[in-house]
């Protein structure tokens, strides 16, 4: 014979446990030394699970991908130049992009009219991009990478959601800061290749 209601009480005890833990764990955390602003939760923690955006931000892993950016050799705050540009307009990223959101115009030498390995125009339609990262994965020149910036909400889209070559370029210093491991690996590979 089963007594009706015992399991209901057990369920109540589960939620009460969470309620009490949210306060006790909270007290423990205020007295412990928790890094503010670099939150990533540990699986052994109980209690409140919230990361209070925008005051606290969840740290993103290095491989986190939102929108693509073009890399040029330089420091933060500088403007890109064709000399510092890494992109050779080979077109692989445009070819491998699944929704075909990349448009590239290959630059031409103004004197002879012959095509040069530089891109004169580069467009990405952010409203078509699916953040898949294939362009960055298959670029042979480490020229296009996936960026971490996700705070992109805006009130307009017709103009601001077409990223052109100026908006897309970021410096290698920025890239090294946001992707330290990948940067170290690529620099190592570059050095090895230069030695050979």
């Amino acid at each position: 014979m089963r007594i009706y209601g015992l399991e209901l009480l057990r369920g109540l005890s589960v939620t009460l446990g969470h309620f009490i833990a949210s306060y006790t764990e909270g007290f423990k955390r205020t007295f412990a030394n928790r890094l503010r602003g670099q939150v990533r939760q540990d699986p052994s923690e109980r209690g409140i699970f919230t990361v209070q955006y925008p005051e606290e931000r969840l740290r993103v892993p290095e491989r986190f991908r939102v929108l693509p950016v073009l890399i040029f050799n330089g420091k933060e705050g500088e403007k890109w130049t064709p000399a510092a540009e890494r992109c050779t307009a080979c077109g692989i990223c445009a070819k491998v992009c699944p929704p075909q959101c990349i448009w590239i115009v290959q630059a031409k030498d103004p004197a002879s009219g012959k095509p040069t390995p530089k891109a004169s125009e580069f467009f990405i339609d952010v409203d078509v991009c699916m953040n898949c990262g294939l362009c960055a994965e298959f670029c042979p020149f480490d020229a296009i990478k996936m960026d971490h910036t996700f705070e992109l909400g805006g009130q307009e889209r017709k103009v601001s959601h077409i990223f052109d070559i100026d908006k897309l370029h970021v410096s290698t210093e920025y890239y090294a800061k946001t992707h330290p491991k990948a940067w170290a690996q690529e620099e190592e590979a570059r050095r090895k290749k230069a030695v050979k």
């Binding site: 014979m1 007594i3 369920g11 939620t15 306060y23 699970f49």
Partner: protein
Amino acid sequence: MGLGFLIPAIVILAAAPIGMMGLTWYERKVIARMQDRFGPNRVGPYGLLQPIADGIKMFTKEDLVPEGADRFCHLLAPILMVVPSLFLFTVLPLAPGAVAAPLATGLLFFMAAGSSETLAIFMAGWGSRNKFSLLGALRSAAQMISYEVPLLLTLAVIPLVVGSLNLVEVVKAQEGFRWFCATPWGLTALALTLIAGLAEVNRTPFDLPEAESEIVAGFHTEFSGMKFALFYMAEFLSTLALAALAAILFLGGWDGPAAGVVPARWTNALWMTAKTLGMVFVMIWIRGTFPRFRMDQLMGFAWKVMVPLSLANGLGACFWVLRPGLAGNVVSAALPLGAFLVFTQLWLTPKPHLTTKWIDPALKL
């Protein structure tokens, strides 16, 4: 007669919305904490100004009346819902002497005012000109009516024991820590009042008529802006009033140890508030934990379990009063317990398994 009634009336009219707003805040925070999150905490310190923002927003929303709807009904329904729930507070004593209307039939008045909300719900469903709103309203009305029976039967023990329907008398009878919830019949009655009360105010696990995962219509689907705010207010006011009633009837009301520093009435009011909030906490706790009953299960529970149980409880209370002593106490404890065990088993007997008959069509080829 004078204008002596104005002061309590103004106090109630001012305090009730504030209480309701505080209650919405309290509910959101408690449920959030049970779900490992914070709840509103950006609008003012600890989110205390959140209900005010909600109020301002609802006040400024457009009032949409569906085409062809009965405008008068549509307008009147929320008002008819809120006003009785304000009436409920007139008979609830906060501290000795702090009651708006110390009626001799206080408890009866409370139940009568609470029951009249059923009419408002029906008006809301009718005035919406939406067949699903109407269905939701009818379900809600049926639920409220059928849970009033066990509620009244349960509360019948109070005049039996105390000898009066006056709520002030009820509290006085429990003074000195002789709270009724320490008796077997009182504990059962408290549990029954709580459950029936949840059904009366349409809260989980009895909130099927409002259920958002059903035919997306409760009776208040077609109401927007201030009218919806009034429905919202009525639900929370009823919850608060019911929790206060349970505290008064079974938890001793304002009874509690006094601190020497402040006047006794203030500590009494504090105790009353604390007990009410404790009962509200239990109601919110239940809301955050359980899934809801289906309509037929809900009705079945009311008629097949709660009514017999409340009758048995009444009988047990009789034994407690008329035969004080160990024998009487044991019988008065055994009766509700026995009724509970017997009737839940009967109700829980599984119905014959509905095996869907299915024959492979390939065999007929």
